[in-house]
Symmetry: C2
């Protein structure tokens, strides 16, 4: 007789004993078929999770793009879609860096004709292939040892004297995978709290929702360049502790997404103090570290290292996960899914659990790992001049576009926008209120959407410019924003936006 | 005054109103630093999840490999590690297919010198680049439209007349990501049950554990080529329903991992009947569909399509997710992380939730998507002869090695092994019992490990051959197995294994 074959998650080896009496000739009987699953049958956390960057408005933009491609709608007042909703440089006009792509082409086919390639390209490809064997083989789960060593060197150079160790580095599929490992690891139950900036990149709220944990938003101060307020953080921590919330981690996005802010050393010190006092993990999302146009990027690792040197007794147990990616910076290789996290101050047992989570996914894409190597260990020889030229052109373009767009926003009626310091986005404020824009508020109410969502929808339908409403990132209640990248080339689209905005104000303002 | 800034997962827009009074001058106070997190502070599900394929034994093998590389241990009785623990062909001697790598090298660097490339390589690269723009750009979250179209055509060719639609296809990072989306989607709570084969590929139990759901093992019948037993499945379903378990999905791995079995049409029909009657999703892990050495691969989609044609009233609502990957087959491009799933019979609202899960990860690696295109849409022209030669050489090699290893196992004392039909593994049975191997059982007890684990450890330490004990996959209680790939080239390692086995038996058998 068959007994229960239920398996406890903890062990496969505790299967109930059973004598198998298997029949091959079970007759197919008549039955009433069951209906398919509907959303009530699904994990409610997967339904609750929101991800506006690829939500309703971008989906509508994709539809419009298809109409244009098929020549199906001759009444559209534009002939292209400007995808300003997502930091995806190579979808727009940004060309890949030659250094990256020459090496990657050899990794994919070691027998290509390389006679026109610089010698350092050929040599680097050899070094990488010696380590990984083939980009078609799984690497170890934590990632290539060579690449992890290069990352450690990069961190030490960047931070001047911190002591990075390749064993603390985990290669991940973009930074998104790192975020998901960390949130999964730290979400014990629905009382596990995560401090996240508002506005935030919605990967964080989405991942917190998927893990059934508790997001606790701290507001960034728009009147002060979107900086963090340590007093507010401490207040929130006390308040949530008193409610029995177990605060696990504090997310900082620096340079800021969607805000474009860049933290100063003192801001970082304040946050590290909080982490040290309350035992809260710092998740430092530093994927825009090479996109700083005003001031300089200072890593959490650098500040923490110096604090540990001065006061090891206070700071040696601070747990920092800092994330980086090949998707942003000046390479913008989003589709290649390269990334890594460095873990500082974590106990070995905790790191071994993270390694297991990585191993369940086998390994991150090996060509993406190689790209991380090329990013953190740029060329020194023949390829250097072109590399410098390409990266500085991209940098200058980004900076110029940021400033042009910033000026345009501040010239629009009832729009204000902080000066862009970093990242790839502007997050202008739409100063609309019920008193002066009554028609706008009643239309939004009728259509059951947010004020900024309505603005973004009308912007898209009128100009083809696709953006994301501030409500997708979070904002102080009764304020309205939107996020736009400053990646699209040229200024035509900005002029179209200005024209749209004038009409929008004329339509809805009293 | 600051009020609570807690965010409900459902909406970011319901933040409590707050007047921000931010101070920039918070004084860093003295405090008692908090200790770092330990495993008690972590999500217990991440601790419980097990993944033996990259567990203790492979980790020890990596250590040994380092000793050999550094020439640090001259007493090892072998001078190389044979990684037979994981299906990773290109880690061993398998060369990548030229067709794949030539096209990929152009995608990475469209300006390479292609004068020695066949024309169809250059043309295919153009077609792909026209669709994706650049492999450095994010694709849409579901994956490239071109690639999804090619997959649909492939499925229709393979299955002769089924009606695949590219909108039902989702490109994923290997098949592992697809499994994780599906299990996350279907895990409502701890009463959500998943029927999984025993033995199984441990990704399933690991993902079920991470989602805090309930694995329900059904035994494959070793005495009957590891086939499924519908009677047992029905018994388990009834029993678990009576315990108020909500059965969500039934996992079938065909060709089998780790068993190497291949299902016949009738086996598949029985499973589809069960799914239709009980409304259980079929997760058909078909990543080894091109690795069949005996008999033929028949897809679930093909059988389901024909059942729907005959009896739509019974089968139209059967929900099938079938998975494929570039990691296995004859290309063996594990590190490239290409894969897809086809969803049949799911409601549109359910598919939209899956699309959202994909979008939180932005997109699967675009070069991996391109590799899926090259796999499902192989060359027709200039590249065809070499492609055929390379794939048939690989196929014949795999088949020959499978048979050689199979013969070796059946010649070993107290070992039996089913004939290999498919996949990349053999799962021989170690017929050890307490009566005839008392020393073995007492040693295992002393060392607190499983019988098969002890065998695999001693095999590794004596020969350098790394395998995975059957306990990592699940097995009928008091039976012992191990999984080995038949990928390592040559027969030397097999002779070493035979020698080891003789000594093992001599040491432990009465």
């Amino acid at each position: 007789m068959l007994k229960t074959l239920t398996i406890r998650p903890l062990s496969l080896d505790t299967l109930a004993k059973s004598s198998l009496s298997i029949s091959r000739n079970y007759t197919i009987g008549h039955f009433t078929p069951a209906p398919p699953l509907n959303t009530q049958d699904l994990n409610p956390r997967t339904i609750e999770a929101k991800y506006a960057v690829r939500g309703k408005i971008p989906q509508r933009a994709e539809e419009l793009k298809k109409l244009i491609e098929r020549n199906e709608d001759h009444n559209l007042p534009f002939n292209e879609i400007i995808f300003a909703n997502i930091g995806n440089p190579q979808q727009l006009d940004q060309q890949p860096l030659t250094w990256y792509r020459q090496v990657l082409s050899i990794l994919e086919n070691p027998s290509i004709n390389t006679e026109n390639y610089p010698q350092d390209v050929v040599e680097r490809a050899k070094v990488i292939l010696k380590d990984v064997g083939s980009v078609g083989a799984y690497s170890n789960s934590q990632g290539s040892l060579l690449v992890r060593g290069s990352i450690a060197n990069y961190i030490n150079r960047r931070d001047g004297g911190s002591q990075a160790n390749r064993n603390d580095i985990y290669l991940t599929s973009g930074a998104s995978a790192a975020v998901q490992y960390l949130l999964q690891l730290l979400s014990v139950n629905e009382r596990s709290g995560f401090l996240i900036p508002i506005p935030q990149y919605p990967l964080y709220t989405a991942s917190i929702a998927l893990n059934n944990a508790k997001p606790i938003g701290y507001f960034l101060d728009e009147s002060n360049n979107w900086l963090t307020d340590p007093k507010q953080l401490r207040h929130l921590i006390q308040e949530n502790k008193s409610k029995n919330i177990d605060l696990k981690a504090l997310v900082v996005i620096n340079p800021g997404n969607p805000t474009g802010s860049v933290l100063k050393e003192n801001d970082i010190k304040e946050i590290i103090n909080i982490a040290a006092e309350f035992g809260i993990v710092i998740i430092a999302d530093e994927v825009y570290q090479d996109n700083v146009y005003d001031g300089e990027f200072i890593s959490f690792k650098k500040v923490l290292s110096s604090m540990i040197r001065q006061h090891p007794e206070l700071y040696q147990h601070v747990q920092l996960a800092s994330l980086h990616s090949t998707s942003k910076g000046l390479g913008g290789e989003c589709g290649q899914r390269g990334g890594y996290m460095e873990l500082v101050g974590f106990e070995p047992e905790v790191k071994s659990i993270i390694l297991k989570l990585c191993s369940i996914n086998l390994c991150s894409v090996v060509s993406g790992q190689a790209l991380v190597e090329l990013m953190v260990n740029p060329p020194h020889d023949d390829s250097l001049p072109l590399f410098k030229e390409q990266t500085s052109t991209i940098y200058n373009n980004l900076k110029e576009r940021a400033l042009t767009l910033h000026t345009a926003f501040n010239n629009m009626q009832d729009v204000t926008c902080n000066k862009p310091q970093g990242a790839m986005y502007l997050f202008p404020k739409l100063n609309f209120d019920k008193l002066t824009y009554p028609k706008l508020f009643s239309k939004a109410k009728n259509e059951d959407c947010e004020i900024d969502e309505l603005y973004c929808i009308e912007l898209l339908e009128a100009t083809g410019i696709c953006t994301v409403p501030g409500s997708g990132f979070g904002q102080v209640p009764n304020t309205y924003h939107l996020r736009t990248t400053f990646l699209p080339p040229g200024t035509d689209w900005i002029h179209r936006w200005e024209e749209f905005h004038k009409k929008f104000v004329a339509t809805y303002k009293n």
